[in-house]
Symmetry: C2
Subunit: 358 residues, 2 copies
């Protein structure tokens, strides 16, 4: 066993299932607040989940962060995206300059933005503000060979785990995990097909907005990728799926989610790619599920399949399909509102309000 | 024609339809931003609607307010709620003390709270912070007579219109209209049945949480209310529906929505009762629809029917059924985010990002 494998195994061992009794404690307080029982709907579930996973109500304001993992994909050589690969680099520059959607949303909702180069096919020099953990300039073309070697997968995962340690040291209690990578919906589609045993056509969408012909080509590419991958040993084992048909940013996101769960940080999955990483993480350590919230339901058809696979009920459903962590960050004001209601509302007895009789 | 009727007629005349060409202007800018076209989903529609209804992008931060209209209902004598009527008074006290759900949400999202007594069956003395526009101590028992006289309906509506003028003078650009009134889901059910021609059983829910037996009783009461009302002249005319089976707070909310639309203020409807007021307002002046957003979908079955009736797509769907404006205020960070993205994102050309080819 390599040193990297050991590190990952140690983190997985530290991920504890959440005690269901803690949720009952939270529900007791929720039922004492000045509102009809259950009338805050999902907000009550969210508050109970966060109380339970922290073992106490999170401090307010919650310390919120989004990590955006950027990488390129060898599979773009097969024409699976309407955008050229260089857009990954350009958008990382846009993140650093503060002009992308995720910057706007994060500023609006008090969320710290961290941009991570885990595998962009370009050199940034010493670009200030960028977290440099590049494993390789882009994943390999998974149509012809595994997207990563075992060593590359481990390097990307441990980079994500190290960032989870950093987030924990920073006091982060609510973490969004987002990405940027031209071609990465093809990787997420292949991961989803492999983990949920669905055909490529069911899990492969239009990504950034492919037309019908380009969409059909993308489905054929994902089918061929899966055929090659399924010929390997242990092709359905989650970390082998990640290595064979994943991406460097997806591996790093998986590592960060594992690390965050080990630190009892609430994790907000974003869209299709982020949830694919969550599915791999839950495959490796099922207890990660207790720390997960789904920020939103994206337009990508494979995302709905992953949400059902993980039994996650998305908080928002606004037809977004942007990535970058945008849907996860937009859900944060809802999540934090749930905690504020839990912590700040008056009780029936403190406010002198009569309770229901029927 | 009375003076009050004239005032209402003048406001209705000032409500202008929104120019569809303005939405196209907004879409042009949205398509220039650094994201795949349409990838922000509903956020793009919201930005375009607000741009169009204001005639320009709203200033940031948006000036946000929630008005909570409180009144009691004579129909509570028939046992339609699990809570005693005194809870209306107690919850108004809770709003003034800052302990209710709406206070917590409004503080979290920078929304000014205004509490309005339009018909609570109790005296508040000179309770500071309360807007005193009481028309009557509770509506009449609509099982036996119209809920209001014509004069009472007009007084409540003009109170709401006057508050819309105040909100406009305060610079409010995003307005949530909420309520508190034990028994008011029965009134909203009767309004919905009358305006959409649905049977009582389809539009009558469990309100604050009735058990099966109490729910059946409530449905029978609403059926009997509708039978009495339908025997009147002009029973399907929206303002007659409001007078016959509405409530003082619902009339005031209708007036405020009409007034807000006349001032080109974006109106966020809350749950079932608020949307019932919106349906009456749109019945009186169809152009109000252009200024309306649906904050959320509540658990009340009649709310879904009203949303379809108004062709409104709710922003949130979190199983809430609290009222107070809570769902509308919780949608405000999403709405304001849409405007921030519109105003603050970089364009493809400003950020030097390549556009899509397919």
């Amino acid at each position: 066993m390599t040193r990297g494998t050991e590190v990952i195994g140690d983190v997985v061992k530290r991920i504890a299932r959440v005690d269901p009794a803690a949720k009952q404690v939270a529900r007791g307080r929720l039922d004492s607040l000045t509102k009809p029982i259950g009338s805050l709907g999902r907000l009550e579930e969210i508050a109970a989940q966060l109380f339970a996973l922290r073992g106490a109500a999170p401090e307010l304001p919650m310390k919120k962060a989004v990590y955006i993992f950027a990488a390129d994909h060898g599979i773009t050589a097969e024409g699976v995206s309407g955008y050229p690969s260089e857009v990954t680099y350009q958008m990382v520059r846009n993140f650093l300059a503060g002009g992308a959607a995720i910057n706007v949303l994060a500023r609006a909702h008090g969320v710290a933005v961290h941009v991570v180069d885990v595998g962009v096919d370009a050199e940034f020099g010493d670009a200030p503000g960028l977290l440099h953990v590049k494993v390789r300039r882009g994943s390999r073309n998974m149509l012809h060979e595994p997207a990563m070697t075992a060593a590359e997968r481990i390097a990307a995962m441990t980079a994500g785990m190290t960032l989870a340690d950093k987030a924990h040291a920073d006091g982060v209690t609510l973490l969004a995990v987002g990405e940027m990578g031209i071609g990465n919906t093809a990787a997420a589609s292949a991961i989803t097909a492999a983990l949920t045993d669905q055909p490529a056509a069911m899990v492969t969408g239009r990504g950034t907005g492919l037309n019908d012909e380009a969409h059909r080509r993308k489905i054929r590419v994902v089918e061929a990728v899966l055929a090659r991958h399924r010929a390997e040993d242990q092709a359905s084992e989650p970390l082998e799926v990640l290595r064979g048909v994943g991406g460097l940013e997806i591996a790093a996101m998986t590592g960060m989610m594992l690390g965050a769960a080990s630190h009892r940080i609430a994790i907000v999955a974003d869209g299709f790619i982020s949830t694919a990483a969550a599915a791999v993480a839950c495959g490796v350590a099922p207890a990660v599920r207790d720390y997960l919230l789904a920020g939103h339901r994206s337009e990508e058809p494979g995302h709905g399949i992953l949400l059902r696979h993980l039994a996650l009920n998305p908080i928002l459903d606004l037809g977004m399909r942007l990535g970058e962590g945008s849907g996860a960050v937009l859900a944060m004001p809802v999540i934090e509102s749930a905690i504020r209601l839990y912590a700040e509302m008056a009780t029936f007895s403190s406010a002198g309000v009569s309770e229901a009789s029927a």
